[in-house]
Amino acid sequence: MSYIDTVSTDVLIIGGGPAGLATSIHLADILKQRGQSARILLIEKGRSIGSHILSGAVIKPSVFKELLPEVDFSEIPFNAKVTKDRTILLTEKGAIALPFHLPYMSNNGNYTASLGQICRYLAVKAEEKGVEIYAGFAVDEILYKDGKVTGAKTKDTGLDHNGHKLENFQEGTRIEAKLTIFAEGTRGSLTKMLIKKFNLNKDRNEQVYSLGCKELWTVPEGNIKAGQIYHTMGYPLDNDEFGGGFIYGLNDNKVAVGLVVGLDYQDPTFDVHDAFQIWKTSAFVSKILKGGKLVEYGAKTLPEGGHYAIPKLFVDNALIVGDSAGLVAMPALKGVHLALRSGMLAAQATADALLNNDTSEKSLQQYETLVNNSAIHKEMFAVRNFRQGFANGLFIGGLHFGTQLITGGAGFFGRLRSHADYQTTLKLSELKKKPFKERFKGKLEFDKILTFDKATDVYHSGVYHDEQQVGHLQINDPEKFNAINIEQYGSPEQFYCSSEVYELHTNKTGQKEIRIHAENCMHCKTCDIKSPGEAITWVVPNGGNGPDFQNM
């Protein structure tokens, strides 16, 4: 057995989500049509395809027909077709269904789905077409030669908490690729490095995110029909918190519920998971879940910066697709169909680059050109100022949105800027309104029937992390962290984390420290996004670690 293993491939795709899989499928098809051959290697950090996939989801299906024209549409594991679609103004005790759809929020012709199941299906198709898929492998290093991307290296395993080699040390494998496709999903850890190294977000807006916490439930027959979907606004969020809830009726008496909240909120004690639990106690939602049982829990962030936050999508020998590229259309938060389309366009540019033996930046510019002339651009450009308009609250956001609707998206103020989510949190002393716990006093005792504490929810995610590895959540400057994040902000980490990773511990002498329970990590990336001063870096843990979503 060799000791510094190298594997060569023509194309390396990092990430087995909808974008990565679509790239691999379409590339395999184009190569076959042209009689070209190339090795396509796709690696995925989750235990299996789907393990790290989470979405509502209500998907626009048309792009699937383009991706898989030879397949009968009924074979694709969509769930129920949307039959009833309402926007609900929610209060604690009541609900008003809007008699119309908000602009861009119609789901006519769309399907509910478990994105995990869809990805598993896409993986089967990809492998049938000769794509090599390896799940359970994480890459933590981009390989460079002469300053250009030449592939990636899988993580060394068999290290203790301090990074020392243990007896069962296994060196990572170097994967050398002519072209590497970054399809890591939201806030991709290697994509983040790539963007920084090549300044790919120059002149772009800061990318901003929402955190979505989701639960899959099984409910008694009759609580909700498959294909009935609801989006809620209002309770328990106030004017400064951007977001809302979703309820998607699925087949077999299952229902997907969740709350998605913009991470630009100011209250350092706000807790999305707990707000989600409180949301479930509203009369409208609790009725749908009555008598039901929790099946799974998960959390994920979504890039919401829109058109102006999309980075440059190409460099020498590399392309970025999907959520890593920020391709999510507001306000409906639809990114799956855009991920697929971006994968198909990347495949086109890749096939041409391989044919011409030219994977340089000049050649790969074709990808960005294709994206800018595609339905992706059309959809995202129309709402390019949507999210930024809400930076100052719902009311102002609504006004902005109104102006944007009558000006094809421009609004009266032209391009609106965004602030990075980690910059918008106020210090404890600066917070004027009631902190989260006070706002919801009396509602934070979770009954484990309708509402669950984080630890119980985390148990339902199948999460697992190897003991023998360096902790994957890194505090960049521990002294600064104590002085600022803990002292001035009250350590928002303990609240914004979807999975109770960060525990603020006070010892007998009053000294505070943050304890990291990395084994709970849901890979949502909220800490990497929201930590004041960018104090935390999320690094990829061992392959096969993290949640093991079954039907999320």
Binding site: Y134, E171, G543
Partner: protein
């Protein structure tokens, strides 16, 4: 005169998902499968022995249905070179006597007998999570007619054709020296199994696993299966 390191493994249902079928036998069909934990420690012990013997040939063997190929491939991706599966409907329902007999017959068929000129060592896990008997390693040793040490935490070659085994006993440890060939069964207390490498996984997928039926290895039906 290179050493051959043979690891015996069994694929088992994930312990949290085990079910008993109506016929009193394990219903393995619905649960996810893993390599039995003790067997994983056995695999790692083999890989550790290779450090002392870089030219060693590493073989992994199992007895079971075709679905066990997944575990054999995982072993290859950890660093093993060859995989052999003994698979035959007639072996279904075998108890440990029959299993020990069947596996040792396959090993003898592969040329591993007590008269073998080339040195070899057989590693196994102490016991399985779905059987819990800890019988099979000893059965295999007796069938082949070679020495054995069970409940071993770690094993090292001494350079003179022997191995030194650190055995767990009540209240402490017992150091044993055994000449090769021998059988060692490993407890899940030693060096934990390493994670597969990507290059290993790629090699594993392409590898041909040699599968034997009972006729191939010359095993009669009287003592195996439900009869055994």
């Amino acid at each position: 005169m290179a050493l051959t390191i043979i690891s015996l493994i069994k694929q088992v249902p994930l312990p949290s998902e085990m079910r008993m079928g109506e016929d009193g036998l394990m219903d393995r069909t619905k649960a996810k499968s893993i390599i039995n934990i003790d067997c994983q420690f056995g695999l790692e012990a083999g890989l550790q022995l290779r450090k002392q013997n870089p030219d060693a040939r590493l073989i992994v063997c199992s007895m079971g249905p075709k679905s066990f190929e997944a575990s054999l491939r995982t072993a290859i991706s950890m660093g093993y070179d060859e995989a052999y599966l003994l698979s035959d409907r007639k072996l279904g329902g075998s108890d440990t006597y029959a299993t020990g007999l069947a596996i040792s017959t396959m090993l003898k068929h592969l040329g591993f007998t007590k008269e073998s000129k080339d040195p070899f060592i057989i590693l196994a896990g102490r016991q399985t999570s779905d059987g819990d008997t800890a019988h099979v390693p000893s059965q295999v040793a007796e069938n082949i007619g070679i020495p054995q040490a069970t409940f071993v935490e770690s094993v090292k070659a001494d350079g003179n054709g022997n191995v030194i085994a650190k055995r767990i006993i009540e209240g402490g440890y017992q150091m044993m020296k055994l000449p090769m060939p021998c059988v060692i069964s490993l407890t899940p207390t030693g060096i934990p199994p390493r994670k597969p490498s990507l290059s290993g996984a790629i090699k594993a997928r392409a590898l041909k696993i040699t599968t034997f039926g009972i006729e191939d290895i010359g095993l009669g039906t009287e003592k195996i299966g439900i009869n055994g």
